[in-house]
Symmetry: C2
Subunit: 761 residues, 2 copies
């Protein structure tokens, strides 16, 4: 039956073409959103087409220092379209491998660039006009194949395939976060096919060498070709062997078959022949529109799982579905493409980083594509099994970079508390315990828990280790996650140990005041003494010390970006990051009233940073003082101030869709506390949201009488029964039904008496 539907679907696509697809949610996707500079910095999303979790991500490159390879600035000439990108990342770039570039002039140069115009970007489609030679370039994709259609305005039709290009190269080998060239090869396989590879190491995650193999085939023969190594171009040389130099090929077409040249290029992490097989299996035809329609369909099938009502503005629809699209770009499904081991488990790469995505991206994937999330967790456990540790970040088949906690543990707990089936939780607990008990030593930036030797003896990470503040906070939460899984598996001694450890955040809680707020996470040395000042600048030959206060920031001025007490934030933000014990946090902060003021101060004084994941839950903390209305008001203001439907519409790096998924949850009126089984309820942006889940159930969130004025929840029912809680359990959502929120024009008592969970289980 499924097969029949699939065939009908394909037939439909073929018979009726692109415009008649049943759904059209994919049309709201605007890949320009987040390509520019938002309020907090560059969004760095990839603009080129991709399938959901797709392995190939071709797109235009006009800046080798950019994480996406792309700057919105139209005065930056495009130098090619590379096949691999990550989306929304910061730090040193990764990928940008195997560039193709159509050109028409300067036939013997391997440096071909052109300014652009008429750029179009859609889900599964990108096109641009290369002004220099009047060439329109269009791209669509299958999971592992990029399909290019070049329409040349000139008689001379050439194509460059560069196996030596990549992003983030620096003059000094082994520069921190620089990608480094290892080797490349090209081979002209026939008069219409070229294969080869690019082997690169390093990049943001400081990974070992990865190899991107490719197989490219044109729909017409090239009449002549050259290949190069280094700077030496050789006419008619079929193979440029890998001797540690950059190689590529120039292909020349004549006029025989008209102006359009189509090129399919498949990639593989296994071999050129595997790339060829990927090409033949995924795109055995030359019908660009067909492939585009298939990929739009892939997107549609996922995007339509959340239907928002028509009262959403055009911009809101764009923002919502583009954010959903961004959430579904990464991690990348590389099942069958793992060069490091074979197994019967799925394989995903480009977790970049789980620190960013565990809070909202994975919970959103869990809601609308649960089987994907199951596969992702299984892949993580298989990585643990073969590589020895769960990754926090992983890219290019290599664990690397733990920003804070060992947050893959949260994903395991999140799957467990939400009842996801098919995961070996026994293995999961084993992986979590490895993180929590075996110090990664010299690999502290790579995996596991840096500073664990302190944490497991002192109960906190002391100033002997960098990022001691957020590490302590995050390990405490990771420990809470371990305790939950341990209890579920009846491992009671581990449960007790880690539940106790989950209070370790208190060991760095210092009872001081700042801007009227009481109690902050502050640095402590190994002997238990609070640290009040930090060595910083040298002025006039004298070392100056920074007074360490909750508003002080040691990085990046006194110390390197990764070397501060907190990672990418300060104490005002991080001190509120105790997702498993908000009531305890409120108590330590001096009670509800002081806590409420503290939150106000945070937001009003600009101590809050919208682009920082540790603060993702913060605007909802008002829920725990019985004021979900304040949570909603704060969140709404954050969104209004920072997000929009323009290219600058994401306030800083999208972080593999982390920022986007945060937005989507709040637009629907839910926000998860990952690792725990509930969602906080906030005021939705739409009158109705329908979530069609994989289990066949639909959950509806209705905001009755919602308007710009009526934006406060007055009362609620769940499946017709009065519902006073300001949160909802995942099980209730997964069972399907309707959460009806009666909206009013002023703050009401709903959510005031029953407070959300305090982490008990």
């Amino acid at each position: 039956m499924k097969r029949l539907l699939l065939i009908l679907n394909l037939l439909g696509v073929i018979a009726f073409g692109h415009s008649l697809l049943a759904g059209n949610h994919f049309q709201y996707v605007d890949p320009f959103i987040g390509t520019g500079k938002g309020k907090g910095g560059l969004g760095n999303v990839t603009i080129g087409p991709s399938c959901p979790f797709g392995m190939i991500k071709p797109g235009p490159d006009n800046n080798k220092g950019s994480n996406s390879g792309y700057l919105a600035d139209t005065l930056q000439p495009i130098y090619g379209f590379s096949q691999t990108h990550v989306s929304g990342t910061g730090g040193g770039p990764k990928y940008g491998n195997i560039t193709v570039m159509p050109f028409s002039g300067d036939l013997e140069s391997i440096l071909q660039t052109s300014l652009r115009t008429n750029e179009v970007a859609k889900a599964g489609y990108y096109s641009v006009f290369l002004k220099k030679w009047n060439i329109r370039t269009e791209i669509t994709v299958s999971p592992k194949v990029a399909f290019y259609r070049f329409v040349y305005g000139n008689k001379t039709k050439c194509l460059e395939i560069d196996a030596g290009d990549f992003l983030g190269e620096k003059p000094i080998p082994d520069s921190r976060e620089a990608q480094q060239f290892v080797g490349s090869e090209v081979r002209v396989e026939s008069d219409c096919a070229v294969s080869g590879y690019s082997r690169i190491r390093g990049g943001w995650n400081n990974g070992d060498a990865y190899t991107v193999y490719f197989y490219a085939v044109a729909d017409r023969p090239f009449v002549r070709f050259s290949t190069w190594k280094g700077t030496k171009l050789s006419n008619g040389t079929k193979v440029q062997v890998d001797t540690g130099e950059k190689t590529g090929a120039l292909l020349y077409f004549d006029d025989t078959f008209g102006d359009t040249v189509r090129l399919k290029i498949a990639i593989s992490f296994i071999s050129t022949q595997k790339a060829k097989q990927n090409l033949e299996q995924e795109v055995p035809h030359w019908n660009f529109e067909q492939l585009r329609a298939e990929t739009e369909n892939r997107w549609e099938n996922l995007l339509k799982r959340i239907e928002i009502s028509d009262d959403a503005t055009a911009d809101q629809k764009k923002m919502f579905y583009t954010a959903l699209y961004h959430t579904l770009l990464m991690p990348v499904d590389r099942t069958g493409e793992n060069p490091k081991w074979t197994s019967d488990q799925p394989y995903y790469d480009d977790f970049y980083a789980i620190w960013d995505t565990y809070r909202s991206s994975h919970p959103l994937i869990t809601l609308i594509a649960e089987s994907r999330q199951v596969d992702i967790v299984k892949a993580l456990l298989d990585i643990y099994k073969r590589d020895g540790y769960l990754p926090d970040a992983r890219s290019g088949n290599c664990n690397g970079r733990t920003q804070g906690g060992s947050n893959a543990e949260v994903l395991i707990a999140d799957a467990y508390v939400k009842g996801l089936k098919g995961i070996d939780y026994g293995l999961g607990l084993q992986a979590m315990l490895k993180d929590a008990t075996v110090p990664p030593g010299g690999n502290e930036e790579k995996e596991g828990r840096g500073g664990l030797t302190d944490y497991n003896t002192l109960g906190y990470v002391s100033d002997r280790f960098v990022r001691a503040g957020n590490r302590t906070l995050e390990y405490a939460y990771d420990d809470y996650c371990i305790a939950r899984v341990a209890k579920g598996l009846n491992r009671m001694s581990e449960y007790r140990r880690f539940l106790k450890q989950s209070n370790n955040w208190e060991n760095l809680w210092r009872d001081i005041e700042d801007h009227g707020a009481r109690g902050f996470i502050m640095p402590k040395d190994a002997s238990g003494r609070w640290i009040d000042s930090i060595p910083c600048d040298i002025v006039n030959g004298q070392r100056e010390f920074l007074l360490y206060t909750p508003t002080a920031q040691d990085w990046p001025n006194c110390l390197c970006w990764w070397c501060g007490f907190f990672y990418e934030a300060g104490s005002w933000e991080y001190s509120l990051s105790v997702p498993h014990n908000v009531p305890g946090l409120i108590e330590k902060s001096g009670g509800k009233e002081l806590f409420s003021k503290r939150l106000d101060t945070l937001f009003d004084n600009g101590f809050y940073n919208v682009g920082n994941e540790p603060s993702f839950l913060t605007s909802c903390l008002y829920h725990w003082i019985g004021r979900p209305d304040l949570s909603s008001e704060r969140t709404r203001k954050i969104i209004t101030d920072n997000y929009d439907a323009t290219s600058c519409g994401i306030p800083g790096n999208d972080d593999s869709g982390a920022m986007s998924s945060w937005l989507d949850f709040h637009m629907m009126g839910l926000y998860p506390n990952a690792g725990q089984s509930y969602y906080l309820i906030t005021s939705p942006f739409f009158r109705q949201t329908k979530m069609h889940m994989e289990n066949g159930k639909t959950f509806v969130i209705t905001a009755k009488n919602l308007s710009g004025k009526n934006r406060f929840v007055k009362s609620a029912t769940l499946n017709g029964v009065k519902y006073d809680k300001s949160w909802i359990e995942h099980a209730d959502v997964a069972a399907g039904g309707e959460l009806l929120l009666e909206m009013g024009d002023k703050p009401a008592q709903w959510g005031a008496t029953q407070l959300p969970p305090s982490g008990e289980f």
Copy 2:
């Protein structure tokens, strides 16, 4: 001039053929020595041909569980000749990739095996007769190319190339020390060429996946071919893409060109095209005899650097030059073949393990091929720079397995104290300090110093960590090595710290008696309490405890092989392993007399194990009590009892030539104390040994009046000057000259008064 010599040399080879080569030391090499089972176990040397430090090591495989792939047992049928082997190793096998197998019957089977006869093995040459089909197989090599000559006795001539074969496969994936299949590919490139690869992970060093690419070309077209994947054989299918299954090719030749089929197969760790380039660059011809002569010449040029006098028996010549040959097989020169990074430094792999080879193999390489040793150390430092740690063992491009100490440090110090030029010792010290200060955490078996957190706080490794005994001893010596280099570089605070730490062996020295000997390295817990018993068997449901005494051994009965207090030995052996402070050791043992008795007890009671590298120096410890004659007598007896010129002539695993190099030093009458700058002088086996060094100098050791009876040094001169010391500095050897030892028929006073260094510097 050099080029001219090379050309003349090559011309000589071509013009006059094989028999007229000037030297003939290579003819004494008998690769059968060590292929059988010696007194302490299998020698496991590779029997097939190799160049010195050669990357390709083809050879017959008749046992997938064997480290060398080869058992001497002629009832074990050969299943193929694989291109990659290591020599003399133990533990789980590594390599055994890309098997070729000629056959004549059962044309459609991929399981071809035959019993063998008429085996011939020489330096650079191997041949065997496959009885089943009357096929003679001959193999010779260049550094990266194997050249096969098959003479078929039957009309039907077939050849199997198997990209799925490898040694040490086990049914359970991720079994400890098992090699695991990742993927393979074959591609018929033309009617005489096949390419492909094998990708394997694991093995002894638990390494990541490595890929052996190959390019094979026959000297005549095959008239038909099949390829397979899994068990499915497909006639005429040119490519078997890597989908994680085993692949291979069967090639069929007809009678047109006679009975002989020649096959050249090159390997690469970069790509099949790089393998092809290796093939074309190294062996552009089809002259088997020419290549054989070239490779014999390569060996001759190295082996002839040590000339021993004609009084050596035929067996002694065989033993000496075969041992030298074994010493020069590994590590393997893979410069230009590193798939993980590019750099201008040499690249060596298959350090297997430095724990085994640092004591005698590398000092011997330093003496006769100093530039090689410089390259090897440079390669180690480049590995540190890119992978983060020096390896103790490394294989398949991956650090893995630290047996005891971080002994690459000894190699750096050894190079430093012997004045080797061209090494960046600043970088070397940095690499050593990384080992000594940054715990490897969860990678304790991979690199660095396991148990360092204990060692750097307690001054010893406590029973919290496995192998605590030998780790403490070896780290103390490694620290001594650091101190030497630090002082040389004027890094005085590091010098003082590590010189002090080099006494840490004393922290585990327990003043107890056993068999009349006083003081032993014994286990201690973290609180400083000695450990007297160790939990062992469970008998009748009750845990039994092992009384831990100096003769007790906790592994492998109570604990796993790698889990005991000492690695592969007991306290009687290890307690004597303080190479930087033998006088201190003697004092702690109760003085010279007691120490002498202790040594006698060790040897007479069988507490000594000839096959264990930590005891390599032990038979020479009599030097430090003024009795070099006793050292020589003990050593001579060990050699007589354990070494001979038969296939069983190495007493246990040769360990990449460690056992062999120990033998050679003692046959010459020198023994190094690696990391320090001198050699102890023992009674030579030959009347004269001439060492021709790379610096153009020759050092001659003459044993005047040496006979079976006259085996005691009566007196000595160095360059004609009376020489009373029982040791000689490397600088004196390197300067060239003659050490003349007057031999007599009874122990004399020579060496009695001046004692060898006690590590001071």
